[in-house]
């Protein structure tokens, strides 16, 4: 997903354009890594010194609902990154130091033998954790 695609999606869905929304997406688009709400707020403080964290949290969940961002829960806090649409559905290797990610080619759901039939499957999570070169 690109910045422009995300802004277009917001417009299509009837959400208003605000500079803060653009900047949140811009920040996420700039880095191939998961960021926490705090990380994002910090980066925004320069342009929006009076930013309220309510704004960040609210927009982050909006973006997740719209599929602009993907969310994961790591080390007790929510982390966010721009949805990668380039390679279809896939998973990530995540650096536990800095949140940096790389893409894994396949999804285990296609190769897992059988899911018990007494569960209605609603989702799945597959993440590989590690330390990237810079962090080790």
């Amino acid at each position: 997903m690109t910045l422009d695609e995300a802004l277009q999606l917001l417009k299509d869905k009837g959400f208003k354009y605000t500079g803060k929304r653009e900047e949140i997406i811009r920040i996420c688009a700039k880095e191939k890594r998961y960021l926490s709400a705090k990380d994002i707020m910090e980066r925004m403080k320069e342009n929006y010194p009076t930013l309220s964290f309510d704004t960040v949290y609210r927009n982050l969940s909006t973006f997740v609902e719209l599929g602009i961002l993907e969310e994961t829960e790591l080390e007790g806090e929510g982390k966010y990154r721009l949805t990668c649409t380039t390679h279809g559905h896939h998973h990530h290797v995540i650096c536990t130091g800095c949140g940096k990610t790389t893409t894994l080619a396949s999804c285990p759901m296609t190769v897992i033998p059988q899911i018990p039939t007494d569960f209605t499957v609603t989702g799945h999570k597959f993440e590989v954790y590690g330390t990237c070169k810079e962090c080790s």
Copy 2:
């Protein structure tokens, strides 16, 4: 892992025997599901009405370190269940309603094509989420 194995492990590692420790493990051993710290405290209030949550949290992390319990982070809180040692390393289908689990036969790490070489892998998480019969 059984209750007795867990208690033996505690003894071997030089931890003291306490009724609270036994009860935490007993509670987890009784259910094939992930429980939150709060769930566990609630179940203990009957026998230990003055229980401090510090005790529960501290013991839960001790047990995770010792491999007696496995932990996952779900819906903003830590969830715990007795480590299943019967089938070796494996993963779970988890009911998002009640935490109930069933076992998945294989681990995706064995079938995932290639992990990028610029990451030192430290761990992974594979969970399938769904709704069990009772919760749907």
